[in-house]
Amino acid sequence: MEIRALRQTDDRTRFRSGDADLDRFFQAYAGQNQFRHHIGTTYIAVEGREVCGYLTVAAGSIEIDDLPAPARRKLPGYPLPVLRVARLAVDVAFQGSGVGRELLRVALGLALRMRADYGCIGVVVDAKPGAVPFYSRFGFVPLEAIEGLSEARPAPVPMFLSAREIGLAERGSAPRTKH
């Protein structure tokens, strides 16, 4: 299985995740998002020519609301850059085979690259309510958002994972070398 950025020539018409909204986005809007408006990038997991799953990411930021003066000394009053995982879906034929995990690993790797290249404090995922336990296992915590929520229905739950945790996990998994 290969995971790579979506190309204009990829056939998206046969993708079925079992979630009509995720399928509609992939088939009708993922291309526009990426090639016309440049407001998000979709990565696909492919087996031969078949799309097994997809992931859509975009750069974003977090702001903290309503900081009283004493808290302002402790908390930053400026936007914090994050990688936003807007959508992740797996075709029904590949569900339960680890494709979703692999796509998430790619997203977390992108966040680390972003952190190294131009700054990123973590990942915010717009989790479908049924996917909250999946993300919680990896350390994502739910956020109380006042603004900037997706208008998708059912309303997704914004969840955060810090780049610190991702970086430590990656370092812990790297083979140790002798010096």
Binding site: Q32, T56, P76, L143, E147, E151, I166, S173
Partner: protein, 63 residues
């Protein structure tokens, strides 16, 4: 292209994007969170440790 024209072009393009894409499809780039969530985020940036599942994921190990 001059900087002013580029900014102007981007400014005109933003409403175009909003018109062409349904609201539920657009990812809002900015998310504003409550102070409690903000504090939680900062705490995690400072001292959180990865879960076992995250370490396994980044190592490419299965469940």
């Amino acid at each position: 292209m001059k900087k002013g024209r580029k900014v102007d072009k981007a400014r005109r393009r933003h409403p175009l994007v909003l018109r062409e894409l349904p609201a539920d499809v657009i990812v809002r780039p900015k998310i504003v969170v409550t102070r409690a969530s903000g504090e939680q985020i900062l705490e995690r940036m400072k001292s959180a440790k990865p879960t076992r599942a995250l370490r396994d994921l980044m190592a490419g190990r299965g469940d």
